[in-house]
């Protein structure tokens, strides 16, 4: 082995080790996790038992759709619907990688078939139709499948005359479906119009993060809009705004508290209170 080779090998080993380090830090399911907010080393199990909220500082970690459903719905009451609807690639879109490949990767990573779970279930005994988004699946982006399943969930609420709940977590529209994803904003909002005309209660819960096309459609159309604690919510992304106005933005910009201050949401709820708050709201609207 030449000296040069030895250095090469050493470099590769270092790189491999670096990847391993990252995996340990990142992966959920390992024994210890670190809070991004307060840097505390936490026992994975404790965090889980605390609804994925940091027991030290109260920071709310992002959770996926399955966990959310487990936390919100009465045990065993949630029936998933419309899971037969899956992603197509109508534009045969390819950027640095093909859309088909990105979808396959997202499926493998999340064990989900798209960025939303729809179905009906009970919240403290109240039957609701629900669409719960999953940020882990391609950033919760809204393409044809998300738009269709959200709309179907709303139509299910109409059919059964029950309240509708949407829990959002999304970076915005799915660019790989271009105009078709833009039209999902129109489709879901038109379905909200029907909920309104039928006098059905529609509650939205905006969670970390909710942006772009989802903010500019069904997310902000709730009769009641709840932001989960620590969520960031907005239309345009922070970086885009900073580049446009060429000045830095306040630290709390687009946080739940910020939106509350500007009158855009009805309330902020901690994860622990979310279920009972929704149940109470449904009860109160029964008159």
């Amino acid at each position: 082995m030449t000296v040069k080779d030895w250095f090469e090998q050493r470099k590769e080993l270092q790189i491999a080790r670096r990847d391993q380090d990252l995996q340990i830090d990142d992966s959920i399911g390992k024994l210890w996790v670190k809070c991004y907010n307060c840097n505390a080393q936490l026992l994975r199990k404790e965090v889980e038992e605390n609804l994925e909220v940091c027991p030290k500082c109260g920071y709310h970690f992002r959770i996926n759709a399955r966990t959310r459903i487990q936390q919100l719905f009465d045990e065993g009451s949630f029936e998933e619907m419309f899971s037969n609807i899956t992603t197509a690639d109508p534009l045969e879109f390819t950027d640095t990688e093909s859309y088909k490949k990105r979808i396959a990767q997202a499926k493998a990573k999340t064990n989900m078939n798209e960025a939303v779970v729809a179905g009906v279930g009970k919240i403290e005994g109240n039957l609701v139709s629900a669409a719960v988004m999953d940020f882990e699946f391609m950033g919760g982006s809204m393409g044809s499948v998300v738009g269709e399943k959200v709309t179907l969930a709303m139509e299910e609420a109409l059919k059964r005359k029950i309240p509708m709940l949407a829990v959002t977590a999304s970076g915005g529209a799915r660019m790989q479906e271009s105009i078709l994803s833009l039209m999902q904003m129109a489709k879901t909002s038109c379905a909200v119009a029907r909920l309104n005309e039928a006098g059905l209660l529609y509650i939205t819960v905006l969670t970390e993060p909710t942006f772009g096309g989802v903010t500019a459609s069904f997310a902000t159309l709730g009769d009641i809009i709840i932001a989960e604690q620590d969520a960031r919510i907005g239309f345009a992304g922070r970086r885009v705004i900073e580049q446009t106005i060429r000045q830095s933005l306040p630290a709390d910009f687009q946080t739940a508290n910020y939106l509350m201050k500007y009158g855009q949401i009805d309330m902020i709820s901690s994860r622990a209170d979310l279920k009972s708050t929704i149940a109470k709201l449904i009860e109160l609207h029964k008159g």
Partner: protein
């Protein structure tokens, strides 16, 4: 008039013909036959050039500085336009202009995004990028049309809703979302036309319509090709590839059944012949109004719902 990069060879040919004409006039030499041949060739070349533009080149026509604006179309195709200002709660956003006017003998409420043709105008109109207050002004004009049973016409040419601090503080997302929802409830015919840039939610916020048309060289997309390139390719210089991949041209959108028709532009683009594009647009709008105006409001709303309900492609 601004010459686009790909138009330069054509411009050079046209200049040569002009030169030749001047020479022939000053020298008294008769070269009219040759000039005629050159002109014919130039026209052929021009037709071929514009028939084979890439999406990125057409983007340049859609964004052309001399492209007719909303206020140009008001002059070209309406009479008695009276502007109705303001959202009634504090602001008159200049990026969205609306009012009441006649197209032939039909009164309409007409609303559109307004761009400037120079820096001074663009500062007034914010480059055609509305604030939430602009969408709210549009919404109150939608309600006005609904109350007086007047058809609504919207003309859209915007690089997007404005991404600013104030816009976020006054709920840009909510303003757009509410327009989408409320347009679904209106009892009057709505006709939307993308006249230039139809970018993202900022365009859609005026486009939940019974009929949606695009001018031939306009584009309609979920994100600007530049924005898409910088996110997906991590390289803004890949905008041409993004423009191709996003399928943003009028023909693409007609094929995808997102729009109902294409308004043909004069050769070289709408800016080359204001009269012609004004007439084409007026005829398109009038025939759409005639098709829609006698439809019962319940059916009109149902049809509008079903139109957007069908959009989206997935496996089942």
């Amino acid at each position: 008039m601004a010459i686009l990069e790909f138009e330069k060879p054509l411009y050079e040919i046209e200049e040569k013909i002009k030169e030749l004409k001047e020479i022939s006039e000053s020298s008294g030499m008769d070269v009219s036959k040759q000039i005629e041949t050159f002109e014919k060739q130039a026209l052929e070349y021009k037709k071929e050039l514009y028939a084979n533009l890439t999406p990125a080149q057409r983007l340049q026509i859609a964004r052309h500085a001399d492209r007719p604006t909303f206020l140009d179309y008001i002059k070209l195709m309406t009479t008695d336009f009276i502007e109705l200002h303001g959202d009634r709660v504090g602001t008159d956003d200049r990026a969205i202009i609306g009012g009441i006017a006649k197209i032939d003998r039909q009164s309409v409420v007409i609303i559109g995004t307004q761009k400037g043709k120079n820096t001074k105008e663009n500062l007034i109109y914010n480059f055609g990028m509305p604030q939430p207050q602009g969408y709210r002004k549009a919404l109150r004009l939608f309600y006005h049309a609904n109350k007086f049973n007047l058809p609504i016409v919207t003309l859209i040419d915007t690089p997007g809703a404005y991404p600013g601090m104030k816009a976020e503080e006054t709920a840009q997302g909510t303003a757009i979302a509410e327009n989408l929802r409320e347009m679904a409830k209106l009892n009057v015919p709505i006709i939307a036309v993308i006249t230039g840039e139809g970018c993202s939610g900022g365009a859609l916020g005026l486009a939940v319509a019974d009929r949606v048309y695009m001018l031939e060289h306009s584009y309609y997309t979920v994100i600007s090709p530049e924005g898409c390139a910088s996110i997906l390719w991590r390289d803004a210089s890949k905008a041409d590839a993004a423009a191709e991949a996003l399928k943003i041209t009028s023909e693409d959108l007609l094929k995808l059944e997102i729009i109902d028709g294409i308004v043909k532009e004069p050769l070289g683009g709408a800016h080359c012949d204001y009269e012609m594009i004004g007439n084409e647009l007026k005829n398109t709008i009038l025939s759409a109004i005639n098709e829609l105006k006698d439809i019962n409001p319940n059916k009109l709303r149902d049809d509008r719902y079903n139109k957007f309900r069908r959009m989206g492609v997935f496996c089942q």
